[in-house]
């Protein structure tokens, strides 16, 4: 018997000494009861999201059409005095266009590249030295002001980890009421194959006398904006 099976057997015999309990019935997560129009519901979720995000020290820039996003991103980069920005591939947004707009405004752009050891090391180094990381979230959570960011080869995890400031974009259609709804929208399949991070505000600590300080390891500044998709 392998060591693993020995422990499993121990656990099993331990369990048998007292009875099992039935698995709980999960209560449905509290949804909306009053029917509202799709637009009204979306707007309501986004305003709740914005409130919650600000409460944890993030900044909500507003709701923009896909075309306006480019100009707003450039304006943000200018406002915070960014010289270089790193950007990952979008989920619903054409971030290549955003990258071009940044470059036209004179801001250097770092894009994910090949995955060889040397390329990875240099990408990491450049990320650590850049001023702003930009990604699009896969989903948002209104109840907590949370952004669900999925790491991929075209939008690596480090983008929301190494730069001192982040802009995270979220599509209004992907805003969910609560955690349970967001997790089920992302789906079990994604969780097994990708890294998912739920990000709720800038990095923070309360380790010194329980006083809150932002930006301990991750980004000190977190900006978010919502895209209002063009109607078809």
């Amino acid at each position: 018997m392998s060591a693993f099976h020995k422990i499993i057997a121990t656990v099993k015999s331990a369990i048998e000494r007292s009875p099992r309990t039935a698995p709980p019935a999960h209560p449905a997560s509290p949804g909306v009861i009053v029917p509202v129009t799709h637009d009204a519901r979306r707007a309501e979720l986004i305003s709740q999201f914005a409130r919650e995000l600000e409460a944890v020290g993030g900044a909500f820039l507003g709701i923009f059409s896909p075309d306006e996003v480019r100009a707003r991103t450039v304006a943000l980069a200018r406002d915070i005095g960014a010289h270089t920005a790193a950007i990952g591939a979008g989920v619903t947004l054409d971030t290549a266009a955003v990258a071009r707009a940044l470059e036209q405004a004179g801001i250097a752009v770092i894009r994910p590249g090949a995955s060889g050891d040397a390329e990875r090391a240099s990408y990491r180094e450049r990320l650590a030295g850049c001023d702003l990381g930009i990604v699009e979230a896969n989903a948002g959570i209104a109840a907590t002001g949370t952004l669900a960011v999925i790491g991929t080869s075209a939008s690596p995890n480090s983008l929301t980890l190494l730069p001192p400031a982040n802009l995270i974009i979220v599509n209004a259609d992907r805003m969910r009421a609560d955690l349970a709804a967001a997790v089920s929208a992302i789906g079990a399949e994604t969780f097994t194959t990708k890294r998912v991070a739920l990000i709720t505000g800038p990095s923070r600590t309360a380790d010194i006398e329980k006083m809150i300080v932002l930006g301990v390891h991750g980004p000190r500044k977190l900006y978010a904006l919502a895209i209002w998709p063009n109607e078809v």
Binding site: G151, A180, I208
Partner: protein
């Protein structure tokens, strides 16, 4: 190489005496824990679903622990399918040896650690250091206590026993920065130090908050981002978890997350909830090349076999029971001589560390504040009582000082006499007569026998039977 002889574990009575004598420590604890309790009260008040979620979360744990064998098999399979290497360790030594083996194989020199009580439990850091590696704790609080060569004094807020001035002095001495007591500046200094350490690290070790069997996903919860860095940057990543961390389904998770941060830190959700299922995949630019998961028993299956103890395995390590505990708040975490202090420590430590921790279950008035705040409603007082009873049966018996032995003998004698109320009433009347002449306005200043410690420690003793007449309405 001969392993260094571990220091004998100091006695709880001694260390707790040091704790209460430190007025400064008590003030710091009162401030910090008080602030936490205010946040929690606020969170609970504005989230009407709180109590319902607690019940659901508890039932999920009951179910999971009740079929832990199946879930562990499923978890191991799924993690392996996701590309992880899984090792199940029966005890601390096995876990340490495995981790050191992996570290050596990866030729690791610089180890970064995310906050993990489980690695404290198995004393991993000294073992890695003895194997020639440099180990840096990266959670700010852990980093601070590591610089002081101390253990964490709290499972969530490791440096809760220190003031900002203490930390300012520490950083001035050890990091060579100009003295400041500004939390912002201190945090910035640590960030700078740790960032360069992160970029040069070749092995990352963290704990685990939940392991989802269905998907083979580890969930890591944190505020600082150091856990994300630790699990993302180094080429080798090792996650260490107790067997009890497994939950069945992805859909179960939200029920825990809704209550965990609310109780643990007074937030709706912590800043980062990280889902990690495996190492870097083809084409990805970050994440470890190899990922190992160490699943540790170390006495947990023995707790599982004890029907009263079992619910201790539901613990989420949120730390709230420490903050609300009137004993913890007076003596601090170091007094417990265990990585797990406070109420949860008092029930878990005797199972993990045996006779060295046998006194801890007595360090409670059974006031029940811990059970009331616990997000999964663990009946800690009931378990304490159970462990007290087990302690009285222990062979060899626990070494108590003479006064504590006298107390127990006194209680036993009293209990035997109380079976004969009439005799006891007569005896106590005689005792009362004898003591009454020494009383001054119904109180005695000094008591003999088992009550000696009462009057020796700041309290007068009510003279037996002196309070006969009921008070009158006038003030």
């Amino acid at each position: 190489m001969a392993a260094a002889k571990p220091d004998p574990i100091p006695d709880f009575l001694e260390t707790s005496r040091k704790g209460v004598a430190d007025a400064d420590l008590r003030r710091k604890l009162e401030n910090s824990t008080g602030r936490h309790l205010e946040h929690v009260a606020h969170m609970r008040a504005e989230f009407p679903g709180y109590d319902g979620e607690r019940d659901v979360a508890r039932r999920i744990k009951e179910d999971a622990i009740g079929r832990l064998d199946e879930l562990l098999i499923e978890l191991k399979q799924k993690l392996e399918a996701n590309g992880c290497t899984v090792f199940v360790a029966a005890d601390a030594a096995e876990a340490r040896d495995y981790i050191i083996k992996i570290a050596r194989k990866a030729s690791a020199r610089h180890v970064v650690k995310g906050k993990s009580m489980t690695t404290e439990e198995i004393d991993l850091n000294p073992a890695l250091q003895a194997a020639g590696m440099e180990v840096v704790e990266t959670d700010l609080g852990e980093y601070i206590v590591q610089l002081r060569r101390e253990r964490p004094s709290h499972i969530i807020t490791p440096a809760i026993h220190l003031s900002k001035e203490d930390i300012g002095q520490l950083f001035a001495d050890q990091l060579g920065i100009a003295y400041t007591a500004e939390p912002e500046a201190l945090t910035a200094a640590a960030r700078e130090r740790l960032r360069s350490i992160f970029l040069g690290a070749d092995l990352g070790v963290t704990g685990v908050n939940f392991a989802i069997a269905e998907t083979g996903t580890l969930v890591l919860i944190e505020n600082e981002g150091n856990g994300r860095l630790t699990s993302t940057l180094p080429e080798t990543f090792i996650a260490v978890m107790g067997i009890e961390k497994v939950i069945p389904k992805l859909a179960d998770l939200s029920h825990f997350l809704e209550i965990l941060a609310r109780t643990g830190t007074g937030q709706k959700l912590t800043t980062y909830t990280n889902f990690i299922s495996g190492p870097r995949r083809e084409g990805e630019l970050d994440g470890p090349r190899a990922m190992h998961v160490v699943i540790l028993d170390n006495g947990r299956s023995a707790m599982l076999a004890d029907p009263v103890m079992r619910e201790a395995l539901y613990c989420l390590r949120c730390g709230a029971c420490l903050n609300v505990c009137p004993v913890y708040r007076r003596i601090g975490g170091h007094a417990y001589n265990s990585p797990y202090p406070g109420p949860i420590g008092s029930i878990v430590s005797p199972n993990l560390f045996g006779s060295a921790a046998a006194k801890l279950p007595f360090a409670s008035t059974l006031c029940g504040a811990c059970r009331d705040i616990c997000p999964v409603k663990i009946d800690i007082p009931r378990i304490l009582l159970h462990l007290r009873w087990k302690e009285t049966q222990a062979q060899p018996p626990t070494k108590w000082p003479a006064d504590a032995r006298r107390t127990r003998a006194g209680v036993r004698r009293f209990a035997r006499m109380a079976r004969h109320p009439r005799t006891l009433r007569l005896l106590s009347r005689i005792g009362g007569w004898m003591l009454r002449p020494f009383a001054r306005d119904r109180y005695l200043r000094r008591m003999p026998g088992p009550f000696k410690n009462w009057t020796r420690w700041g309290r007068d003793f009510p003279a037996p039977g002196a309070r006969r007449r009921k008070p009158r309405g006038e003030g």
